[in-house]
């Protein structure tokens, strides 16, 4: 499966925060699997990616602040933010 790992890396996108790319890819892998195999097939159980998403989010939020990117109206997931249950 190492071959597939390299295929995945070759065709993967980067994050705007260079330091966040690995976290982003981990999250994307989790999300894409859940999206294709559960969500689109009508499985309404919760998405299993919240932990990886939180880690990725913390990194991206910092990168956006550092690069002064004018994001409009997004409340980043913080320790107090409640994600609605699916």
């Amino acid at each position: 499966l190492f071959y597939l790992y390299y295929l995945f890396i070759y065709f993967s996108m980067n994050s705007v925060g260079e330091a966040c790319t690995d976290l982003k890819r981990e999250y994307d892998q989790c999300f894409n699997r859940w999206f294709a195999e559960k969500f689109l097939k009508g499985d309404r159980n919760g998405d299993p990616c919240t932990e990886t998403f939180r880690k990725y989010q913390r990194c991206v939020q910092k990168a956006i602040k550092d690069k002064d990117i004018p994001i409009d109206g997004v409340e980043f997931m913080g320790p107090n933010k409640d994600k609605p249950e699916s």
């Binding site: 190492f2 071959y3 994050s15 982003k24 294709a36 969500f39 689109l40 994001i71 994600k83 699916s86």
Partner: protein, 184 residues
Amino acid sequence: MNHPWETVTKAAMQKYPNPMNPSVFGVDVLDRSVDTNGRLHSTRLLSTEWGLPAIAKSIIGVTRTCTYVQEHSVVDPKEKTFELKSTNISFTNLVSVDEKLTYKPHPQDPEKTVLTQEALISVKGVSLSSYLEGLMAKTISANAGKGREAMEWVIRRLNTEIEELAATARGTMRVPMAAAVADK
């Protein structure tokens, strides 16, 4: 597009990178949640880098620049709609480009998907505005064809990954790691 809606939606969600949009260098998810109607909302940041024509230097002062686009999308798995709305958040003092894309199953053929794409462009405070708007409209319209090509590329790529995963699982493909790296 000659693919069912689920295939197109999966591909559209992973649209970047693709060779038709080389200027997009970053895609980040800023927020994501499922609403009470079971629809998935995502807010994403697209980071692009452009090499601009030389005239850009006299207008915005640079010829290489990062521009950012914020996109909000909604996937409704019951109604089978995937709608994306994007707007530039860079150079908003100069130009406003709002795009809306909707993917739905073809009304007569469920094996096909219809993409509807709209763009609203306005250029601010520049006397050449109608010329520039016309130019941007032409570019966006030409890029709509490129967008379809990009989707076909992503769909082929995802199908290749699935086939290779299946072949590996069956044990019919054993590729030494060194050879795979050399291949790249």
